[in-house]
């Protein structure tokens, strides 16, 4: 299911974190990665070029990850996009909010390539089911 050419958008205001996520994705064989430093920049990029997957932080200036997720879900040509929330927030309100907003997955920092791979597989699996159903 996972195509190594998939284009990822990594959204985080902390460039070190973007680099970490980018490196983890590279370890998993995904090299087609673009970055955005907040939700607003991410939306701009999503609207100007096709992406296959969004990995976003929650807490960011300008537009946070939850708002980004909600906006994506309300935008017809983006709503199908898988969105993986990556955050240091492990509170239940947050997880519920993310789930309600339509997050495809939720991953708590710090994590390893293995954890990330597992989450991605789960999401790909779900997408595959949807596609064949």
């Amino acid at each position: 299911m996972s195509d190594p050419k998939m284009k990822f958008l990594v959204v985080d205001d902390f460039s070190t974190m973007r680099r970490i996520v980018r490196n983890l994705l590279k370890e998993l064989g995904f090299t087609n990665v673009d970055e955005a430093e907040d939700g607003a920049v991410a939306l701009q990029k999503l609207n100007s070029a096709p992406f296959d997957f969004v990995v976003t932080d929650w807490n960011m200036p300008n537009m946070d990850g939850l708002t980004l997720l909600q906006t994506i879900r309300q935008t017809p040509h983006l709503r199908h996009l898988p969105v993986l929330m990556v955050t240091a927030e492990a509170k239940k309100e947050n997880i519920i909010a993310a789930a309600q907003a339509g997050a495809s997955g939720y991953i708590v920092k710090p994590f390893t390539a293995a954890t990330m791979s597992e989450k991605l597989e789960k999401i790909f699996e779900k997408m595959g089911k949807k596609a064949t159903a």
Binding site: D13, F14, S15, T16, M17, R19, I20, R22, N23, K26, V33, D57, N59, M60, P61, T87, A88, E89, A90, K91, K92, I95, I96, A98, A99, A103, G105, Y106, I107, V108, K109, P110, F111, T115, E118, K119, K122
Partner: protein, 645 residues
């Protein structure tokens, strides 16, 4: 993507806990360090407007982001501390708690501890756990149980367990939810409980000033006190953070220029083949001329572009200071606001690092000695709060940095009296000093007041070291002061250390380069104008009696004849005439340092356009090493000989 580009070493002499993660660690430290400085400044603002939701939110996000990054470095203790602080801010921004002075103290102590942890990361070591008392106070604060005075209790007897549970996120049901949402029934525990720990210096809110400074600077253990006094600037560079953040557009410019140079090189190669094969018509030579001029232009553009990659906004340095000023002022019971200006001014990165300490000491000086206490200010009819201004701006090819206070100003007379009392100057010297010279007395080693010495003891830094450090950067520092109005320290620095404008002088056939910044004028030495004053050969230039020091004498060469020309030079301590045979013009020297075999009195070497290698002289060192003053009387003798002839 660019993992290989980063710096490889964290610290050469320390075993690292972060093998394989050095790049990540470096990135994290730079970015998180900036973030923490930003948080520090926002905390200062928060004290003034404690209900500002936007501020609370930004600070919350700062700790949150640091926590996220620290997790990937397995810096558990840092994660724990940031997590607790973040939770506290979560409650504050939600309005569940209000910012009280007690909470503020806890927050500031936590921030200071985070900075200490960064310092330990910087040395490649995992930070040890924060002071349990701090953790306990944070938990109390989160639970809303921190009341005035509780800061001094060592434990929280009432409900520490409940508070601990709330912040550690141990409620059972969300694990289930997490599983439902993500389809994974396993949870990555983000926070580990702080176990029993080794004691860390308690970051109490009222720390003595020297501790404030130490904590703020985040000193590496490898920096020995006073080491910056005796060693050259470059000696200390190795243990520094060697990475730099460069705007990609600047790098693109460098890339573009080097590409252009490549093209011009190809053109020159083609022309060379043509010329070697016998073509030397006007057209070919004209093309050669064009290609060489183009290369000339491109190379100087490239030099500029590369220099710009080293330029960093000075704001990165400035943002550390409001917090330091606040802590210092508080520890002295004064109300001081540090106002920043010109943060966007760009300056060579090496200089930013070398300026950190001198500026701290100037600010410390302003807060401690410059401004009056509240009572003094009211008596003087000034607003109770004092303003210390830290400002940077570019003036021509110089950067000017000001540290200005609105305090009591300096009393020239009292300074002179004190210098006499300490035996630093004689009564006679004291009487002939103007205001500017009197102010400069504070830069004399040994002038500092007793209090100053103890404040900075162990670090060997006083005003004299401030000046020495500025001079090492080829800069200078001046004082402007008005009694009752305030004092301003003016630092001026060259834009870069890589290129040094020099004057080329000759001794016989041998050229030497001296820094142009020290040269005031060039004048012929007429034997009949040389006078002997106090056993020294001197000349009177516009009413000023200046000693003549032949370069040959300073270098320890035999003095074969009286110098023909003099270069009037000015160092911070003195003006003098450097005696030379002739001079060869000025040049922008690209300094090559002689790290391992630097002879005394030589700052480095440079290559002239004709390929000749020239020594760049370090005048200060030369003057210092000329203890043997035989040359003085010999010059006098020579001068007399010439005069007699």
């Amino acid at each position: 993507m660019n993992g290989a580009a980063g710096p490889q070493q964290v610290s050469e002499n320390v075993m690292s806990d972060f093998a394989g993660m050095e790049d990540l660690l470096q990135d994290f430290l730079i970015e998180a360090g900036d973030l923490l400085s930003g948080v520090d400044n926002k905390l200062v603002d928060l004290e003034r407007s404690p209900d500002d939701r936007g501020l609370l939110n930004e600070i919350f996000r700062g700790f949150h982001t640091i926590k996220g990054g620290a997790g990937f470095l397995n810096a558990t203790e840092l994660v724990t501390l940031c997590h607790l602080t973040e939770n506290l801010f979560d409650n504050l921004r939600n309005g569940e708690l209000a910012v009280t002075p007690e909470i503020m103290d806890v927050i500031l102590a936590a921030t200071a501890t985070v900075r200490e942890m960064f310092a330990s990361l910087e040395q490649g070591m995992q930070p040890t756990a924060a002071d349990p008392d701090l953790i306990a106070r944070l938990r109390q604060a989160i639970a809303g149980e921190l009341v005035a005075g509780s800061a001094h209790e060592t434990t929280a007897p009432a409900q520490p367990a409940a508070a601990g549970q709330a912040v550690a996120g141990g409620a059972p049901d969300w694990e289930l939810l997490h599983g439902v949402v993500t389809g994974v029934a396993r949870v990555v525990q983000p926070v580990r409980e702080a176990g029993p720990v080794a004691a860390v210096v308690a970051a109490a809110p009222t720390r003595p000033p020297e501790e404030v400074i130490k904590a703020a600077v985040g000193r590496r253990a490898s920096d020995k006190p006073g080491s910056q006094v005796s060693t050259g600037r470059r000696d200390g560079e190795k243990q520094r953070d060697n990475s730099i953040r460069v705007d990609t557009t600047r790098l693109d410019q460098v890339l573009n220029l080097s590409g252009e140079i490549g093209l011009t090189k190809n053109r020159l190669n083609a022309l060379r083949s043509d010329i070697l094969s016998g073509r030397n018509d006007t057209e070919t030579l004209h093309s050669l001329d064009i290609a060489v001029s183009q290369l000339d232009l491109l190379v100087s553009d490239l030099q500029n572009a590369v220099m710009k990659t080293r330029m960093q906004p000075i704001g990165r340095l400035f943002q550390k200071y409001p917090r330091i000023a606040r802590d210092l002022a508080r520890s002295m019971g004064k109300d001081v606001e540090l106002v920043l200006a010109g943060e966007e001014t760009e300056i060579d990165k090496t200089m930013i690092e070398d300026l950190a300490d001198p500026i701290i000491h100037l600010i410390r000086n302003a807060v401690d000695h410059g401004v009056e206490d509240a009572a003094g200010r009211i008596a003087a009819g000034k607003p109770e709060k004092s303003i210390v201004r830290l400002e940077a701006r570019q003036e021509g090819d110089h950067i000017v940095i000001l540290v200005a206070d609105d305090g009591r100003g300096m009393n020239a007379e009292r300074l002179r009296a004190k210098a006499v009392e300490k035996g630093l100057i004689t009564d006679e010297e004291s009487n002939s000093m103007d205001e500017r010279q009197s102010f400069n007395l504070v830069f004399l080693p040994g002038f500092s007041m007793a209090a100053q010495v103890s404040d900075v003891s162990g670090r060997g830094v006083g005003m004299d070291v401030v000046r020495t450090n500025i001079q090492k950067l080829n800069g200078n520092i001046e004082i402007q002061s008005q009694l009752g109005k305030g004092t301003t320290f003016v630092i001026s620095l060259p834009l870069t250390l890589a290129i040094l404008p020099v004057l080329l002088v000759r001794l016989g056939d041998q050229p030497f380069a001296v820094p142009l910044s020290m040269v005031r004028e060039i004048l012929p030495i007429e034997a009949k104008e040389v006078q002997e004053v106090g056993g020294r050969a001197t000349m009177v230039v516009r009413g000023e009696v200046l000693p003549i020091m032949p370069l040959a004498g300073l270098l320890g060469w035999p003095l074969e004849r009286a110098p023909y020309y003099g270069v009037l030079m000015q160092t911070a301590e003195m003006s003098f005439i450097l005696g030379i045979d002739s001079f060869a013009g000025r040049e922008d020297a690209v300094i090559k340092s002689l790290d391992d075999f630097r002879p005394k009195g030589v700052a480095g070497v440079t290559t002239l356009s004709n390929g000749q290698i020239v020594l760049i002289l370090d005048m200060k060192e030369l003057l210092g090493s000329a203890g043997d003053q035989r040359w003085l009387s010999r010059l006098t003798m020579m001068a007399k000989q010439v005069a007699a002839a």
